[in-house]
């Protein structure tokens, strides 16, 4: 019989409760139980970074955390980055303007990682941006558009 637990957590500001199988990753839980399919699972062993979400404001791999471990925590997914009225987060807007995505698979992890990074480092150098996304693999863009977007968004966010 499957080992399950009841959990309560906050996802994108909303309180959620569910019964989860304990071996379910946070990423699978967000997609399958909550229908938040913005979070993408790529490699499922912590290398590609696509599944990155924020847990209590810190960027983590949702494939390397169990859903049961998110009990009582505050989770933000890519769906939670934009404003409630649908206007884009400055990073999302900058990705759009700077051609920061092609196929879009890596994008949710890029956005959540960079959101956490810019929170701590609002005025990064290009090198720092490249290091920040060194754990996020993009096979389309060659990263240039992503780096440009991150620097552009940082500027917008600094100027408020």
């Amino acid at each position: 019989m499957a080992d399950t637990r009841d959990i309560e957590l906050t996802v994108n500001g909303e309180s959620r409760s569910a019964t989860v199988e304990t071996r379910t990753s946070l990423g699978d839980f967000l997609r399958q139980a909550l229908g938040l399919t913005g979070t993408h699972l790529g490699c499922e062993h912590g290398v590609c970074g696509a599944c990155t979400v924020l847990v209590d404001g810190e960027a983590v791999r949702s494939c390397l955390m169990l859903a049961v471990q998110a009990k009582g925590r505050e989770v933000t997914t890519v769906e939670g980055l934009s404003n409630p009225d649908g206007t884009l987060h400055p990073l999302q807007d900058a990705f759009w303007r700077n051609h920061g995505l092609q196929c879009g698979f890596c994008t949710p992890g890029m956005l959540t990682s960079l959101a956490a990074f810019l929170e701590e480092n609002p005025d990064p150098s290009e090198r720092e941006v490249r290091e920040a996304i060194s754990g996020n693999i993009c096979r389309c863009t060659g990263y240039q558009g992503i780096v440009d977007a991150a620097l552009d968004a940082a500027k917008t966010m600094r100027e408020g």
Binding site: T22, G46, A59, V68, S134
Partner: protein
């Protein structure tokens, strides 16, 4: 790519975790999960029981005793990088931690998890070797202390019984103003090191009074260059002495793998030892 079914346990005390280890065969301890979770996902590891340490009281935190840093095994790598006492007393630690995975994995990854996983190319075991850290392990009969030299038993096998738990790492700190340097070569930033070197120096009036050099990634466990350390003592801190230390590093036993030959690792070790010592000398508060 999903873990095989297991029974999940979330103890709240170290004693409870040890009791669970004793009560269940085929149990794995889950710390930050940045190595165990991939292995569970890929089913390289199939465990009947997973004991989650994230809710155990008192396993995380940093205590500065004045001559040592006592670091709880569940202290996150990111917290070590942000801690003012660590930055002041052991500044090589934040420098080396920059090389550990990526910031997203350091948010979860712990010092104890890395030391128990004991990947030969991991940065934290290399650092703990340089410091002669002491590891506190708790088991059913109480606690015991293990000096780092006795910690790695074999490739990825720590000196830890099946019903024991690593609880604390004691890092003896060096004199204020000591020099430090961490140098690494990896194929990409955040990858495991092909070779990494940690160097610590105390310099008094331009002469080296104390040195520690540890090489990671070259062999199944970190190598301390004791011969080079004693040769450095008393010498003027400068390129000649550092080059000689590099030549000692060139003689180490080094692994070959699919990508990198043993000879290449030896060459890298020689170069990185020189660089790490040079960096350490420049940072030493003496008249180097």
């Amino acid at each position: 790519m999903k873990p095989a079914p297991f029974t999940y346990h979330d103890p709240t005390s170290a004693a409870e975790a040890v009791a669970l280890l004793g009560a269940h065969e085929d149990a794995k301890l889950l710390a930050g999960g940045q190595s165990l979770m991939p292995m569970l996902n890929m089913r390289f590891v199939v465990a009947d029981h997973v004991i989650d340490l994230n809710g155990v009281e008192g396993l995380a935190g940093i205590n500065n005793t004045g001559d040592a840093l006592e670091i709880g095994a569940m202290t996150r790598q990111r917290d070590l990088m942000r801690d003012p006492a660590v930055a002041a007393k052991a500044p090589i630690m934040p420098e080396a931690l920059e090389w550990v995975g990526h910031f997203q994995t350091r948010n979860r990854g712990t010092i104890g998890g890395s030391l128990c996983h004991l990947d030969p190319a991991a940065e934290l075991p290399c650092l703990m070797a340089a410091y002669d850290a002491v590891l506190t392990v708790e088991g059913p009969d109480g606690a015991r202390e293990v000096p780092f030299t006795e910690w790695p038993l074999a490739y990825m096998i720590p000196n830890l019984g099946p019903d024991e738990l690593l609880t604390k790492v004691t890092v003896p700190t060096w004199a204020g103003g000591h020099g430090y340097g961490f140098s690494e070569f990896a194929r990409r930033h955040g990858d495991f090191a092909i070779v990494a070197v940690a160097a610590l120096l105390e310099i008094d009036g331009g002469n080296i009074s104390r040195a520690a050099i540890s090489v990671g990634g070259a062999d199944v466990k970190p190598i301390r260059l004791e011969e080079a350390e004693s040769a450095l003592a008393g010498q003027a801190a400068g390129p000649d002495a550092f080059k000689a230390a590099g030549e000692v590093a060139r003689q180490i036993d080094a692994m070959s793998d699919t990508y990198v030959t043993s000879a290449y690792r030896q060459r890298l070790a020689a170069t990185l030892v020189e660089r790490a010592l040079d960096k350490a000398a420049q940072r030493a508060g003496g008249s180097a």
